[in-house]
Symmetry: C2
Subunit: 139 residues, 2 copies
């Protein structure tokens, strides 16, 4: 069973090799039968080769910056700011490991939306700069 520290190193390598577009090294941290899921679109990719290809083919001149990395036994999460052109997105990634390799990845891409009415007495607008998310109005 992988330790928390091994998990942290492996997940860090997932992001570092992605950022460097070093797809061979990216593949090395994935289990051969890795499952990658995107619950928002109900899409699933199965297999190391397929997941490497998905990332290699992902369009746009994107850059990523890791903002959180939380590791706990054989589970972990990482969050990133994903920038493509003028647009900032946030990616939230949950990991499961098995035998020291990443066996499951669940990716979320939360999008901006307008706050519902009725809570203005408790909220102010403005958040810390950690999670950079472009808003449609450019704010």
């Amino acid at each position: 069973m992988a330790s928390t520290e091994q998990t942290r190193v492996t997940v860090r390598q997932y992001f570092d090799t992605m950022a460097a577009r070093d797809w061979d090294a990216f593949g090395e941290v994935l289990a051969e039968d890795v499952v990658y899921e995107m619950p928002q679109t109900a899409e699933r990719i199965t297999g190391r080769e397929q997941l490497v290809q998905f990332n290699r083919e992902y369009p746009g001149d994107w850059r990523i910056s890791v903002t959180r990395l939380i590791a706990d036994g054989e589970t972990a999460t990482g969050t990133m700011n994903f920038t493509v052109g003028d647009e900032d997105l946030v990616g939230l990634v949950y990991f499961e490991l098995a035998g020291g390799l990443i066996s499951r990845v669940t990716d979320f891409w939360p999008e901006p939306y307008e706050p519902p009415a009725g809570r203005e007495h408790l909220t102010e607008r403005g958040v810390s700069g950690l999670d950079r998310l472009s808003r449609p109005d450019g704010s």
Copy 2:
């Protein structure tokens, strides 16, 4: 400094007391100057009383079920299925602790969207049942 195990207990209590609508006990795990942020709406709530009130006033006959809890030193994340009426939402929550209390909460509510074209050769539709997210078409 809080240990990972203390963090896990505290974050578990955050969710358990929320699920039970036990707002006094919910407040006990929050730092007095807790900051709660929702990057998608750029809303922020500051202060224990305000955050308790926000949750107490949150409309609807909602129920939550915790699906992941990952703790690491003074950071953690929890994910939940949030059900209100017929609708399933997923809440992704990131925590920072200080002095054993929750000092920062960052909440994300990812929504379903249609997959972009051009990756059908790698993806299939359908994900595991862990994260339950209602889709507009009811799938």
